[in-house]
Amino acid sequence: MAWFLFIDESGHDRVASPYEVLAGVAIQDRALRELVGCLHDAEFDAFGRRYSDGHRELKGSVLLKRKVFRHRELNVEFDPADIPALAKAALDDGARADASMLKALAVAKLHYVASVFDICARFDCRAFASIVETDAPRTTDSGLRKDYAYLFERFFYFLEDNNVGEQGIVVFDEVEKSKSHLLIDQMHRYFAQTAVGRRRASRIIPEPFFVHSDMTTGVQIADLVAYVIS
């Protein structure tokens, strides 16, 4: 048995967010299939269709941007039962979306994000985060970044408190290949060449997986967590 730790980051452009956040969401392997199914159902219930069909991504910067909250306050009335149909109409043909559709889409987005976290709680998922001040002095050391080390430390403690046989599997959002290689090298050195890292490697598999965030539900949840915290 294992726990996946899906990881994503937010705020590293240092433009709109007061903090840089590296966030992880731990999901038990045996819960993953059902959790993904529930999230797909929640997506359909909110939007009347899959939001993420085609080019759209379920990202915090899209679902929770300020404009969404402004649209939620638009001065139009509709029956709450019509929200999925109105939101679907806005997604199907955004160019023709009227105020009702825009408001319904905003309500649907916020409802969906709340559902994601409620479903995570139902499946006993756990959230981890390293929250970094944007003016924090940087390191020139070639070792593993401290925010990653803190995240792995917390994940290790969580695994240690669980069943002995359970391992942790780290899953990252794929970035540029050169950056992925750098991270793999840093993780390898951390888990193989430091005393603390070697101890943590007893529970955390030292080689991460890289996935496309737009196709991986777990990383999308980590993105939402990182966005809200940052």
């Binding site: 903090y19 985060a129 929250i131 050391d141 803190y150 915290i229």
Partner: protein
Amino acid sequence: MPRMTKPAREELSPFANRIARLRYRAVRERLGNPEFEIWSFAHLSDLRTQAERNEDA
């Protein structure tokens, strides 16, 4: 978190509260305290190694 003092977007607080429920609290012996709490959210104000901090001091 108490050390996060920068202004937050108020409209995101219902989501932040939901996320707070997903945190994990570990308890380990640290600094002579057998009940030292280590939450799964960590706040960092310095990314330098201890050696770098000593050099810059």
